[in-house]
Assembly symmetry: C2
Homo-oligomer: 267 residues x 2
């Protein structure tokens, strides 16, 4: 299970401030702590407030790589910001993200091929997010087809079926679980399935409980990647335990510690 740390995002005030003031220490600390918490990859988003998003992405990617060696997920909506981040990545990056719209796929799939990057595909198009599992799966298939047309192996594609907040779209949570299961058989090799987890608990009172419960359910259905808060120890403990129960890691009494030691070794 690929844990992608969500905290290096300009939507967090402390990160926006650090980007503005070029405060490397704040970024280094957040990068190291997320990896120590269990993240295998870090999401990098300069946030909506950056005046010069290209320069901000360049600085952020360079600064993170001064502190950690894990691969980065370059998170943006603008092609020039993606390019700015991708060209500086030392390890094979992840593009976060394309939708299933042809205009987006036509730009971002060739970019993934150019930079030998993996890519996240959101199951939405101009009409928005389909309300059914079938609708989401259909869009996932379009994304996978576009990857193949660009010579990108289907196991470099991360399908994100777009979980919505449980307090506004409660019926969608189980539909996303079904989509995860269905998408696993769309291609050979199968695509990865990913969630931007924290969205499920937006504006709820029990955010951490809802996050970890949903993540464990999704792992049971075949989820193998999540953008989430690797500083949330209980969340990461739940992921490690779920993987253990799926026989993906060998049981030992100290399996939680063993997992984290492995993560830190690649820092």
């Amino acid at each position: 299970m690929l844990i992608i740390g969500e905290r290096l995002n300009g939507m967090f005030k402390s990160v926006a401030k650090a980007i503005k003031e070029k405060d490397s220490k704040v970024i280094h600390d957040l990068a190291v702590k997320q990896v120590e918490g269990g993240a295998h990859m870090l999401d990098v988003n300069v946030g909506p407030a950056s005046a010069d998003a290209v320069a901000a992405m360049e600085w952020l990617v360079k600064t993170i790589q001064e502190a950690v060696d894990v691969p980065l997920s370059i998170d943006s909506t603008k092609p020039e910001v993606f390019e700015a981040g991708l060209k500086l990545c030392k390890a094979k990056p992840l593009i976060n993200s394309t939708t299933a719209e042809k205009e987006k796929l036509d730009i971002l799939m060739p970019m993934a091929a150019k930079y030998d990057a993996s890519i996240i595909g959101l199951t939405m198009d101009k009409k928005g997010i389909p309300s059914t599992g079938e609708g989401r799966t259909e869009l996932a298939l379009n994304i996978i087809a576009a990857a193949m047309e660009n010579g990108i192996s289907t196991d470099r594609v991360y399908i994100d079926p777009l979980i919505l907040p449980v307090n506004v779209a409660q019926d969608q949570c189980s539909k996303v679980l079904e989509t995860i299961r269905e998408c696993k058989i769309l291609s050979d090799p199968p695509p990865h399935l990913l969630l931007g987890l924290s969205n499920v608990s937006q504006k709820t009172l029990n955010r951490e409980l809802i996050n970890r419960t949903y993540l464990v359910m999704a792992i049971a259905m075949g989820l193998d990647a999540a953008i989430c808060d690797s500083l949330d120890k209980e969340l990461v403990d739940s992921v490690i335990t779920a993987e253990l129960l799926l026989n993906k890691d060998i049981y030992c009494d100290s399996y939680l510690d063993a997992y984290r030691k492995k993560a830190v070794a690649v820092r």
Copy 2:
């Protein structure tokens, strides 16, 4: 999701002592606390040490029913002990349990019909527990067929695919998850799927974490009943949250409290 409290079991020293000394207060307290914790039903087992198991079961069932009104799960291996408990139950009881062996089914299915009881069917026979999901599902089918022959509706059957401890049979955890999913389509109406949860974590260091993680995964796969420790608040919180995420209860900010208030109302 039916939560069956596991604590009124003579395997616990305090319960064995209370049975021996006919200490009603200990039993009343444990019954009330389990229901307050979220149990909808209580498992009743006099334990291996009771000299007169029939008398012990009679006393235990009477004593529990002085304190709570929830239905009881009569837990034994002996027909005469089942009879002793079943005949005293005020609410429709659950027989815990039969195996898929013909000799057992021939005794316990007619008993379920006689007492209008539901029944737990363990997916094992004289050869033991099958090591594959298919093997377990085949035995589940035998149990369901025996219920139908005895005029018991298939939704009165609780199939238990027998989870084994993760530290000795790690590969079995995912097979049991698959069995849960497969058994749901064996009959119409489908059988219930149940786990004796605590077995998964026997002799591990992180018992509560392993219990709640596995239970949430099993709920995602279709589990709808568990014999477990309803005094474990984090476990019950996880169950309530998993059900919320499956849209089985309506979201409100105080959904945890709301659930528990409902449970106590039936005490």
